[in-house]
């Protein structure tokens, strides 16, 4: 393990911002929810009744996991956001470990490190150590803040450990995937899309099918087999079972050992599976930037489209359960109304809130696809293409057309699909109103995509500003209402001021103004891209 501390220090320097932001945001979720407990759950019998309803509701169980003791503020906070924090910690760890291992190897930086006096496994070991330490920091922060807010220390400790160990488990998953696949993109896809996404879906189905007081051997077994169920099975604030934590500890150790064995068996720069040979000649479509952009985005187009269909079709039907559940709780319905742009009807509020979140994610997709224009430049591919008879506008336009075009299509489709599945009758009429509601939000998407283009055109190194804008939008629409942000703050985002159909009247002022701003940003960005220097490798 020669050179371990040197590599550790290097990795820390390169990644501390990434980890710090994740850890700070995740550490806030439980204490923030705890502070809202008194508002959300009224004292006395009304509160108990509501909690009983919540606990018995299969949809809630599917989304959040099984509740154990909701009468304690800590138990409620863990059920509401604790398990979610654990899943987000898993996401953070998977991204973090791949970023420090396979992504660096792909860029050729690990080769430099390993050519020094550094052992074969040192870069992986250092990256793992760093990820585990940051998860520990997250666990300690959760435990300390929950204990400081006067919840029982055992529950606080169990919450912190369960969250940190869920992150540790996915440090292991990410480390294994990083050995298996030669590209960081593919490793990320398998860690988050297949492993984390698949386990979450399984957990949702299993938890949603379980009924209180009924034992089902198969469902129990499936629950115990799922690492994402373990945080809940530790039962923080509900007669803690600390021994359950041995499961993630053992699995993490196993996965990390596997990653090390795999690393010994492969060549530097390669994966375990040799990449299959490609075509000797290009297909006819691959003859200009448009064909190239399609080839580069093909996987993303299919993945995002499928994901949005599943999300819209899966979330829509929840509207019915939400109605029954929330009507009995004024604090909850008030929160949902605020998320849903102040709609009176609960179903409408739910629809608007969900559509808002999905449209924001679609905006994120559009920006990440346009961001490819930027990464193609830093990779040196833009230089090669622009040395052919390719105008700059065509190069920018190819990514813009796919990212922007898909964002428009998916928004309309998601709006329509969500409306149809949310409406009890499932009429064709809902198709039109749903698409219209989504269309009213499109100017916001144009603004973020325009902002991304502006940054690429004038300040490509500052591209991450657009990620901050989208991150804030997601945060504001998802947690802002829960944290009782004032209305003006909730609306301070690209989609915030647009009319929320069908509740709001179709007022054109915001739509027109934002469309003009968005298109102006796009035009300015393209003009900048045409006149600036193109960076090489």
């Amino acid at each position: 393990m020669t050179g371990f501390t040197t590599v550790l220090r290097l990795l820390f320097r390169r990644n501390w911002v990434f980890w710090l932001i994740w850890v700070v945001v995740l550490a806030m979720l439980m204490p923030a929810t705890l502070s809202q407990y008194a508002t959300l759950v009224p004292a006395g019998s009304a509160g108990e009744l509501m909690l009983e309803g919540l606990a018995g509701d299969p949809t809630m169980r599917a989304i959040l996991g099984p509740p154990f003791d909701l009468t304690l503020a800590g138990g409620f906070a863990f059920w509401r956001v604790g398990a979610f924090t654990a899943i987000a910690a898993a996401m953070m760890s998977g991204l973090g470990i791949i970023r420090a291992t396979r992504a660096e190897e792909e860029e050729g930086r690990i080769e430099l490190i390993r050519s020094g006096a550094v052992g074969r496994h040192v870069p992986l070991a250092a990256a793992v150590a760093l990820a585990l330490v940051w998860n520990l920091v997250l666990g300690v922060a959760v435990t300390a803040s929950m204990a400081a807010l006067t919840t029982p220390w055992a529950g606080a400790l169990a919450s912190g450990l369960a969250i940190a160990l869920c992150g540790a488990t996915f440090t292991g998953v990410g480390a294994v995937m990083a050995q298996l696949f030669t590209s960081a993109r593919t490793a990320r896809y398998w860690t988050l899309g297949i492993a984390l996404g698949g386990l979450y879906l399984l957990r949702a189905i299993v938890d949603g099918s379980q009924q209180a007081g009924v034992t089902n051997r198969l469902l129990d077994a499936l629950q115990w087999a799922n690492p994402l169920s373990w945080p809940a099975l530790v039962r923080p604030y509900a007669d803690e079972r600390f021994w359950v934590l041995l499961l993630p500890v053992a699995l993490t150790a196993l996965l990390l050992a596997l990653a090390l064995v795999l690393e010994s068996r492969r060549d530097h720069g390669s994966g375990i599976r040799a990449s299959s040979p490609g075509r000797a000649e290009a297909a006819p479509y691959l003859s200009n930037v448009w064909g190239l952009a399609w080839r580069l985005h093909r996987g993303g187009v299919i993945g995002w489209s499928a994901g949005m269909v599943i999300a819209a079709a899966g979330i829509g039907p929840l509207a019915h359960q939400v109605t029954g559940l929330i009507a009995s709780n004024s604090a909850y319905s008030e929160m949902l109304r605020r998320m849903g742009g102040g709609a009176e009807g609960i179903v409408d509020a739910f629809y608007i809130a969900m559509l808002g979140i999905l449209v924001t994610f679609i905006g994120l997709m559009g920006v990440s696809m346009l961001g490819r224009l930027n990464s193609e430049e830093t990779a040196g591919h833009a230089e090669v293409m622009l040395a052919t008879a390719t105008p700059r506008t065509a190069l920018a336009g190819s990514h813009l057309a796919i990212g922007g075009g898909l964002a428009v299509l998916l928004s309309l489709m998601t709006g329509a699909l969500l409306a149809v599945t949310a409406s009890s009758s499932g009429t064709w009429e809902a198709l039109g109103t749903g698409a219209a509601a989504a269309a009213a939000l499109l100017p916001g998407t144009v603004v973020v995509v325009g902002l991304a283009m502006l940054l690429i055109g004038w300040a490509p190194r500052a591209f991450s500003i657009v990620w901050a804008v989208i991150g804030w939008s997601i945060f504001a629409s998802w947690v802002g209402a829960l944290l009782q942000f004032p209305d003006w703050l909730l609306r301070l985002q690209p989609w915030g001021h647009l009319p929320k159909l069908p509740t709001d009247d179709l007022t054109w002022s915001a739509i027109v103004v934002e469309s003009i701003i968005g298109l102006a940003l796009l035009g300015l960005g393209l003009a900048g891209y045409r006149r600036r220097d193109i960076r090489g490798r």
Binding site: E106, T182, S183, S270, S275, P277, G278, R279, A280, E281, A282, A283, L286, S287, N288, V289, G291, L292, R295, L296, A379, G380, H381, E383, V384, M385, L386, A387, T388, A389, T390, P391, R531, R532, D533, I534, G536, R537
Partner: protein, 295 residues
Amino acid sequence: MSNAIEITGLTKTFGHTVALDELDLSVPTGQIHGFLGPNGAGKSTTLRVLLGLLRADSGTARLLGGDPWQDAPSLHRRLAYVPGDVSLWPNLSGGEAIDLLGRARGGLDKARREDLIARFDLDPRKKGRSYSKGNRQKVALIAALASDVELLLLDEPTSGLDPLMERVFADIIRAEQTEGRSVLLSSHILSEVEALCDHVTIIKSGKVVESGSLEELRHLQRMHVTATLRHTHIDIDSIPGVHDAVIDGTRVSMQVDAQQMGALMSALSAAGIETLTSTPPTLDELFVRHYEAAV
């Protein structure tokens, strides 16, 4: 005949760094022009200005009779470029990259493509991420050479190629010239430029240090002379233009300024020449001398 490349007073700065400082360069049509300089001299920056990737601060550049910035896409149909550090799309095969780049330039000659793949011994089915540096270089070279263009802009094209492939490359470039194509070949590998180019421009810190045909440059330089003499009672150091003379018994060796060759020969004949060799300076010597002078 018009010039394929005509650059006058070209200046380009990046922040406080001056990359090109009043650079002049002209490449007549049909010439293989060597563009020599150490790393960071501004060779790549010049090529990237010629490709319209960078905008010059001042000075003019003409390329195939057009403006490299304004007319970039249409000019690029008539030229091909090989970057110094070739980066390929990781999930496109080499064959796909060759076709994509060739077609985006306006089409490529299929027979020539196959011929080049065979001569460079490239496996076109491998994915971009699994190629070595040399193989990535071959992909870019094949993509550039398979098109019928008037001008080739090559930025250190043989870095990463093994000696066998370097020879293949040299053969192909010579054939290109006989077909009337112009080539601007940037390099710091002197033997390569010496073997291929008839004209050379040497730059350092964004400025031209020397430019001309190889003969003209050699004319200014010292020849290396070795001789075996019958009589050794000769005062070599008194002959004008002679430097670094070494006498070892009857054997003498020295450097002599090219224009003083006649004076040296008469002195040596008087001492009775038994053997005599005279070699022109290698480009290495020219190069090292320029660096030393500029330091």
